[in-house]
């Protein structure tokens, strides 16, 4: 059966959660980078309830939650809805159980369409919930801004894989920044080149490219990225004179013209600069 319905990794990883990279469009252009930057901004993060329960909060109730060193404000969860109570026409309370834990949720409805959406969801329904994580009177709760029933149950599998993926991604980011290595753009790039896919249940996942406009309209292309990665290797960063075009050409086994094109593009983007002459280039430093 499964061969009829393969789990498409490309579409799987293009949807659901917003990656930190989306929230930091100006990473490359930023002239004063710091390791903590890019991990302190907001997005929609796929999480399990267990992760929410273990999120740390730095200060009082108003302070931010942190999961994996990343500030978390808005999250996306998938689970079963229970104990639904309509407290008033616009105030609906329920619990969401995702199998790792149970969390209280509130849905303030303001429009008829939202009321209808909540009307059709009963106890025991699988839902995808996007909402704001907050602490109220010592209890963690989600203030939902979207609750919709799951119709394609591969979304359940996908959500947890998405949680694992983002966890891994953030853990890597954290290690690399702490280690001072400059390989972050590789990770960012592999994400930002993800194509837009329409999933089988018909809703379109957001394109990362919308968020990288001030880097370039279509992000870094594969080869440009290879050249940049090579220049960003710590050993090459340390070289005062920079790296000769010929060397890049030999290392990447590509014609020098192709290297020149890539360099020209990267230079325009402010990612590399010529050092002692027009043949030697260095990557702009930054994490």
């Amino acid at each position: 059966m499964s061969s009829n319905n393969p789990f498409d990794a490309t579409s799987a990883f293009s949807g659901g959660g917003f990656m930190p990279s989306q929230r930091q469009p100006s990473r490359f252009a930023d002239s004063t980078p710091s390791p903590s930057k890019g991990r302190d901004s907001q997005g929609l993060i796929p999480v399990t309830v267990k992760q929410i329960s273990e999120a740390s909060q730095s200060g009082d109730e108003k302070s931010n939650f942190t999961i994996n060193g990343v500030d978390v404000t808005n999250v996306t969860v998938v689970g079963m809805l229970f104990d639904k109570k309509v407290r008033s026409f616009n105030d609906i309370r329920f619990h969401l159980d995702d199998g790792t834990g149970r969390i209280e949720c509130i849905r303030w409805v303001t429009e008829n369409s939202e009321t209808r959406q909540m009307d059709e969801i009963d106890d025991g329904t699988y839902v995808r919930l996007n909402g704001h994580l907050q602490s109220f009177q010592g209890k963690r709760q989600l203030v939902a801004f979207s609750v919709r029933p799951v119709t394609n149950f591969d979304e359940v599998t996908f959500h947890y894989i998405d949680c694992i993926y983002l966890h891994l991604y953030n853990a890597k980011l954290l290690t690399q920044c702490q280690g001072g290595a400059l390989t972050q753009p590789q990770l960012i790039e592999s994400l930002s080149n993800t194509p837009v896919h329409t999933t089988s249940n018909g809703y379109q996942t957001p394109s990362f490219n919308n968020f990288t406009v001030d880097v370039s309209p279509d992000g870094l292309k594969g080869f440009d990225k290879l050249v940049l990665n090579y220049l960003q290797q710590p050993s090459n960063i340390e070289r005062e004179m920079g790296v000769h075009l010929k060397e890049i050409s030999q290392q990447l086994k590509s014609p020098i013209e192709k290297i020149k094109d890539a360099i020209e593009f990267l230079e325009k983007e402010g990612l590399v600069y010529s050092s002692i002459d027009d043949y030697h280039y260095k990557a702009v430093e930054g994490c």
Partner: protein, 106 residues
């Protein structure tokens, strides 16, 4: 918030690790009776699920309940997962959720 009673993702092979505890599994229904379903787990072993299955069940059903033996589950919650479902991805998720990334789940 309550994380005291999680349901572990299981396939046929992982069931024995969670005997007496809450588990969740997706099974492909082979035969459905009034009080039980015989089905195939995501790793292709045969599982008996006791309880009250949905009428009618779809090809794929998710059950949440207690692991009774290494091939049976007493289910409390049944959800029809439809007639197509990617079993191999779910099976890999079971393995990840019981292995390297267990701390995100249990």
């Amino acid at each position: 918030m309550d994380t005291s009673n999680p349901a572990a993702f299981v396939n046929g092979g992982l069931l024995r690790m969670h005997l007496g505890r809450k588990v969740r599994a997706v099974i492909q229904v082979i035969r459905s009776d009034v009080g039980s379903v015989i089905g195939k787990s995501t790793d292709d072993s045969q599982i008996i699920v006791k309880g009250s299955p949905p009428i009618p069940p779809t090809n794929y059903v998710e059950v949440i309940g207690v692991a009774e033996t290494d091939n049976s589950i007493r289910a409390e919650i049944w959800t029809n997962f439809g007639d197509t479902f990617d079993m191999s991805s779910y099976d890999q998720l079971c393995q990840l959720a019981n292995g390297e990334f267990k701390h995100l789940f249990l």
